[in-house]
Subunit: 180 residues, 2 copies
């Protein structure tokens, strides 16, 4: 998903330059006068539970292959955030979910990414291994492999969830990495 | 901000094609074998209040020039969602804010956009007219120009806020246009 730096104008094929435009350095085509804006990408996912267990997938692809993660992936054009999250759970865990609420907005400014994690419940307890997963499993709290979690956003969401389910009062969290 | 359809590879300058790749039709360069992914863009903003009034800006630019809006704009690379919202309030309303919480995730799948609106309070009651605004004003509830609000996302957020401030129990909302 990482793209090389832009060399040519996607509109006219001319070589582009990097220069100050609209407040910061941007990629500009001085042939057809287009500014090639780039913006952060959204990663949608769902912290999914079933009874007292949490669904995690062991990643079959880089980055962090072999580590456990909340099912998530890049949001596609033409979809809604919650539909993208459900699609990712289906692709990675072959599971259907009911979205409960937005649960976490997690900024990764150094990667130009924003995670949007929803809280969700498995529809029927059924799950499998999607092609992007080595393994899918429901974990009890004391089984969670904390040292093998793929991303900080997942660790953050899991910790908040385990705290908040004691009272059933689930907030929508805002956090970042790094956390300053 | 709307870009024309991609004609050339931004990496090698070769003509691109649109073909099935990674689950859907995508722009592909068959010279350097890059898939040119496109993803929804994030628009960050802040429903900003001061005492019993709400801050709105009259847009000086298209789309919806001359209509009132919650200050918002495209999130930039290298920033956090909440910092982008504060930047937009500064650019449009010359006002400093304290972010209270995430308030609305609003999907616009037909435009490939996701609004993230925060709830925020003016730091000191001071505001002005940014270059993208014809006018900036604090509105009492019964002064809000409902027929001159620029975007559905703003109308949605304003209505929820006016309901919820009666009790002080502010949720984080998820909604879409169209709402099905």
């Amino acid at each position: 998903m990482l793209m090389p730096k832009q060399n040519y104008c996607s509109n006219c094929g001319n070589a582009v330059v990097y220069q100050h435009a609209e407040g910061r350095e941007r990629c500009v085509c001085n042939n057809c006068n287009i500014i090639h804006y780039t913006n952060p990408k959204i990663i949608v996912g769902a912290l999914t539970y079933w009874e007292d267990k949490i669904l995690l997938c062991k990643r079959a692809i880089e980055p962090r292959k072999g580590f456990w993660n909340i099912p998530a992936g890049f949001m596609e054009d033409d979809e809604k955030t919650e539909d993208g999250a459900a699609r990712e759970v289906w692709e990675e865990a072959e599971a259907k979910i009911n979205i409960i609420q937005p649960y976490l907005i997690y900024n990764l400014p150094q990667a130009n990414q924003v995670y949007i994690h929803f809280l969700a419940e498995l529809k029927d307890g059924v799950y499998g291994n999607g092609v992007e997963s080595l393994e899918t499993r429901l974990f009890l709290e004391d089984e969670i492999p904390w040292n093998e979690i793929a991303f900080y956003s997942s660790t953050f969401a899991l910790k908040r969830f385990l705290e908040e389910r004691k009272t059933g009062n689930f907030k929508t969290h805002l956090a970042s990495f790094p956390d300053k």
